[in-house]
Symmetry: C2
Subunit: 106 residues, 2 copies
């Protein structure tokens, strides 16, 4: 029983610059976002990233990205597909994603 998890996402206006900086300060999250930027039309499951981290930690990073307005997530069967909120995030913080795109992959 119980309902399927609902993924909340913040209003972009409520995301502070400090929060945006904070979430992009972590190299793992930066790598996730960079990968997503490289395949704009792809929805990513958590396990599609080559991160040497436990499931729990990866889940935690995705939550941080969601809370900062960077990604949105939907349930698909037993997977959770995430994608960038590219346009809204770009509108809120113009040019920020470009910096990620241009930064040489770690």
């Amino acid at each position: 029983m119980g309902t399927t998890k609902k993924y909340q996402q913040p209003n972009m206006a409520d995301v502070t610059l400090s929060t945006a900086m904070q979430v992009l300060a972590d190299p793992c999250r930066l790598a996730i976002v960079r990968t997503m930027l490289e395949q704009p039309d792809h929805e990513f499951a958590c396990n599609e990233f080559e991160l040497d981290l436990s499931k729990a930690t990866i889940s935690h990073h995705f939550e941080a990205l969601r809370d900062a307005g960077l990604i949105q997530t939907r349930v698909d069967g037993r997977r959770c597909l995430s994608s960038l909120r590219r346009e809204s995030f770009e509108a809120r913080f113009p040019g920020l994603l470009d910096l990620v795109t241009n930064e040489p992959g770690s």
Copy 2:
């Protein structure tokens, strides 16, 4: 005796995006940078900021800003005058300082 402190500053090419994000994630440092952006031709001593923090903590924040390439510091008598490395930082991370300028002061 001993020599007067030399303030080192990194080559801007060596500053990673992750480091830049990290240093701008802190609200106090963000406030410092915002204030500096508002008075581009002013050199700031540490005590010119209305921060409710101890000298030690403020000194630590300035060091973080220096290490991330955001500011440069020179000794003037018994004061240390800091100013933004605006052009070089802007060249390394185009648009990033604009985000700070446009973010409503906390």
